[in-house]
């Protein structure tokens, strides 16, 4: 930590509060085409992020802040100038007054030894082996392994040093039949190589690619029961995450109000979810958020009742609730149906969209189907093309969540979600 910088911030009477985060990232990256290396990359960067706060000294009392990024190549004079400019900028920002919480020390913060090369090479081997094991056809893949060393201090004497590692496997998988070749795209992110999880994800990807190759055009179903699975379930629940965040409520952009039943007259399962600081394998595990607020496990919605607003210190202060910190990991409770029960009757299950879009504020969702299954009393026919669309607010009063669960990066929750009367634009 730059002592001169800390002195500049501490000694300046105009600065009411500040935090400094020094983040050093070391990365190793590999880019493969099929099983041959196209190129490798390495990265070593350090950034110092300063957040400073200036309060007005007369009514109406307001607080402004400035965020400054300092590079290692900035001279002392340049840093001083950046702080002066930051103060000038913060003085112009007239936001409702708020205070940052006084944190208790964090016991046993995360410490991960740097081994980006070892982690990356293990992922490469595992991926190539899985392709052989499951007779999958890799088109290309990219592996990124990152280690982050983070030192956070603030004006109130909070001082925390922790480190994290994360990885990304972006993979394109091919399959073909007499009609031609298709591809599936996967973007897998995790903080540790949990072989059982990665093995399942790779096996499913290879299987789904083979199914897409023989998929039929999506029929013109117009309206149908929709089953979402995989990452799409996490994206679906992103609407509830955003709609209950303090900043969304403060800006009056949420459809929900704390204390109310968000699923009035529900026919199926209710939503219950908790925001948590850590999940096994998540890339978003952290003891604190970007403001330095120590993250606290928070039950947000319980059986459809919006119990607790969550979010960053500033917006929690505005909403007059205790700051929970900007939690990044979500745990959604299971529902009442098994996957087998969901699959009775006629359903459209979509495994893979070109891009599944869920608007965090409006709840509108939709996407083009890359791979789905038309399920008719348990018989699954792979389909592709066309799109589904709907609005969560109109559909979540009749919704089922599976008993079976999944754990993918920052989401732990039902494996599948079933909703009804969803618009389908088919092509046959």
């Amino acid at each position: 930590m730059n002592a001169k910088l800390l002195n500049l911030l501490t000694d300046n009477e105009e600065i009411a509060d500040f935090s400094v985060q020094v983040r050093t990232t070391v990365s190793a990256e590999w880019f493969f085409i099929v099983d041959k290396l196209d190129q490798s990359r390495s990265k070593s960067v350090t950034y110092t992020m300063v957040k400073l706060y200036v309060d007005s000294d007369s009514e109406p009392f307001t607080r402004g802040h400035a965020e400054i990024t300092i590079y290692p190549t900035h001279s002392d004079e340049e840093i001083e100038q950046l702080i002066i400019e930051g103060i000038a900028s913060a003085k112009l920002i007239k936001n409702q007054l708020y205070v940052l919480p006084q944190n208790k020390p964090v016991e046993d913060p995360i410490q991960v030894k740097e081994d980006v090369i070892g982690l990356g090479n293990r992922i490469i081997r595992f991926t190539l082996d899985a392709a052989q094991k499951y007779h999958g056809e890799i088109n290309s893949f990219e592996v990124f392994a990152n280690h982050h060393d983070i030192h956070f201090v603030n004006a109130k004497g909070f001082d925390l040093h922790y480190s994290m590692q994360d990885a990304q496997l972006e993979m394109i998988v091919n399959s073909r039949d007499e009609k031609g070749e298709i591809e599936l795209y996967r973007d897998l992110r995790f903080s540790e190589l949990i072989e059982e999880n990665l093995d399942r994800q790779l096996r499913e990807t290879f299987t789904e690619a083979k199914d897409r190759a023989v998929a039929h055009a999506t029929p013109a179903l117009h309206k149908t029961n929709l089953i979402l699975s995989g990452d799409n379930v996490s994206d679906f629940f992103g609407f509830y995450r955003t709609s209950t965040h303090a900043s969304t409520l403060y800006s009056k952009s949420s459809n929900f109000n704390v204390g109310e039943n968000i699923q009035e007259n529900v026919l199926g399962d209710t939503v219950s979810f908790t925001m948590v600081p850590t999940l096994p394998g998540s890339c978003h595990n952290s003891p604190i958020d970007e403001d330095g607020t120590v993250l606290t496990t928070t039950s947000v919605v319980n059986k459809g009742i919006f119990k607790q607003v969550w979010g960053d210190a500033r917006h929690c202060h505005y909403m007059e609730v205790k700051p929970t910190g900007n939690l990044r990991n979500m745990v959604v409770e299971s529902g009442s149906k098994t996957v087998a029960e969901m699959e009775t009757g006629v359903n459209l299950e979509v495994l893979d969209f070109s891009s599944f879009i869920v608007d965090g504020q409006t709840g509108d969702f939709g996407g083009e189907i890359r791979l789905g299954y038309l399920i008719e009393d348990g018989k699954k026919t792979p389909i592709t093309g066309g799109s589904v669309s709907g609005k969560i607010l109109d559909l979540h009063t009749h919704m089922y969540l599976s008993l079976e669960r999944q754990l993918v990066n920052r989401f732990s929750g039902p494996l599948k979600v079933q909703i009804f009367d969803v618009n389908v634009s088919g092509i046959e």
């Binding site: 590999w30 290396l37 190129q39 350090t46 590079y71 900028s89 070749e181 409006t362 669309s389 609005k391």
Partner: protein
């Protein structure tokens, strides 16, 4: 007025040339990209405001080719002493070459680029330097937009007026090239959240360009449009899924150009056999009235540069000419692997990331039709507007565009009925071959970011004219 060049890059220019002289003797080929971009984002909302650093970066990336292998090293700090700096870079690159050999990874050999001598030092211009307005004046302008908008419609619960300005400075050095460029871009948007009988809805309108602070003056025009759009989306009803005759506004035309053929002709996709385009080279892929360009040498916008992130000069590439697919766009490495020429499309998200083939300004050329005639020609269909997102599928030539609104057309007239949101999907060639009319308008849009898969976000612009086509909507 020309934008100021980077003091930092000027300061390190000669030391980096000295460093590169040494590295050039150690590797078969080595190049360096150093960046120093400075940016600010100003956001004023109904109940809060802030000023943030935006799109800033300062660092460098070394690329080395040795014995057919390629490795890169990104960093943002080098020792001052030449010997120490050489050791840091050389040790890292050699360690990568050794590790990949030790792991036994088979590799795809790359040829040494054949470069010509080129020296350039160019600064682009803007009308009003970013410093023309001070911080307070910039905030005041944005606050006036929010105040005005909020007074116009009681259903508005939150309004955001945002303005971003970026000065890009880049230095590229290789054995034969010594290139410096500085260029500005700015963008702004108005986003309005309103609450109606059917819950929360949102309207969005943007402005952008290779512009300076003059963009703040131009933004006043988009406030009224955004307010009008909010009224429309609050009253919009779901569309009945099906295939319709449609007219796309220039914004949606640009999205289609970008998603349909832009991604489909990125030649790093050819190298990986991830695109259908090679099978269609010199064949009809669109109606004969359609011509499509991509290139940083095209109309000025947010991705108009002199050289790309691999030191290749900007091009203006005619991708589709009179409906026939003529050529793709390429970064240097992909071009080398395909034995073709790079087209100045090698772009990095920042110095921290790999260079891929990326779009710049992608657009369909304007035609000769009039919008009124196009509307009159439709029995039942929609005028589509309001880009929300798009996704490509170059391997299967699928397309997904999410749009906020469709204006109903019945018997050649707009009825006033509005549907939304709308998802346009289908086969790219079917869609482009169905184009029967192109208007004589032209507009480029550069306020968004383009990703490669779900990462590597870079600035691109796209646009064109109004087009009439047949599309599947849901």
């Amino acid at each position: 007025m020309k934008i100021q060049s980077s003091d930092y890059l000027s300061r390190i220019h000669q030391p980096l040339k000295d460093l590169m002289n040494v590295l050039c003797s150690e590797f078969d080929y080595v190049s360096l990209l150093a960046t120093d971009s400075r940016g600010k984002a100003y956001n004023v909302r109904t109940r809060s405001m802030d000023i943030r650093d935006f799109m800033g970066e300062r660092g460098m990336v070394f690329r080395a080719i040795h014995q057919g292998r390629i490795a890169e090293f990104s960093l943002n700090q080098l020792p001052d002493r030449l010997d120490d700096a050489v050791k840091v870079v050389s040790d890292n690159l050699n360690a990568q070459f050794e590790m990949n050999k030790k792991e036994g990874y088979a590799f795809i050999p790359v040829e040494i680029p054949s470069e010509e001598e080129w020296t350039v030092n160019e600064q682009k211009s803007y009308q009003k330097p970013f410093e023309s307005y001070d911080l307070q004046e910039k905030l005041d302008k944005l606050q006036s937009f929010v105040k005005h908008g909020s007074e116009m419609d009681p259903r508005i619960v939150n309004m955001v007026a945002a303005y971003m300005e970026v000065s890009v400075s880049k230095l590229f050095i290789s054995a034969k090239k010594d290139l410096i460029q500085d260029y500005p871009w700015s963008q702004g948007y108005i986003m309005i959240v309103g609450k109606g009988d059917n819950g929360i809805k949102m309207a969005f309108k943007s402005a952008s360009g290779m512009k300076g602070a003059e963009l703040l003056d131009e933004m006043a025009e988009i406030v009224e449009t955004a307010i009008q759009q909010l009224d429309e989306v609050l009253g919009a009803t779901p569309i009945v899924p099906g295939e319709y005759d449609v007219i796309c506004t220039p914004e949606i035309t640009g999205l289609i150009a970008h998603e349909a053929f832009g991604h489909g002709v990125e030649m790093d996709m050819f190298v990986k056999n991830r695109a259908k385009a090679p099978e269609y080279m010199n064949k009809f892929v669109a109606a004969p009235i359609l011509t499509m360009h991509d290139g940083a040498l095209g109309p000025l916008n947010v991705s108009s540069y002199v050289f790309d992130d691999e030191g290749t000069a900007a091009h203006d590439t005619v991708v589709i000419e009179d409906g026939i697919l003529k050529r793709g766009i390429a970064d240097a490495l992909s071009a080398s692997r395909l034995s073709t020429i790079p087209t100045g499309n090698g772009k990095r998200e920042s110095f921290e990331r790999k260079a891929y083939t990326r779009m710049t300004s992608t657009y369909f050329s304007k035609g000769t039709d009039k919008l009124d005639d196009m509307i009159r020609s439709i029995k039942k269909g929609y005028l589509l507007d309001g880009m929300e997102s798009g996704m490509e599928d170059p391997k299967n030539w699928g397309i997904q565009c999410v749009l906020s609104r469709g204006y109903e057309i019945i018997d050649g007239e707009l009825t006033g009925n509005i549907v939304g949101p709308v998802i346009l999907t289908g086969n790219v060639i079917d869609l482009l071959c169905s184009i029967t009319m192109i208007s004589d308008d032209f507009e480029l849009f550069g306020a968004g970011f383009c990703g490669k898969g779900h990462k590597e976000f870079v600035k691109t612009a796209d646009g064109g004219a109004y087009i009439k086509a047949k599309a599947r909507l849901g």
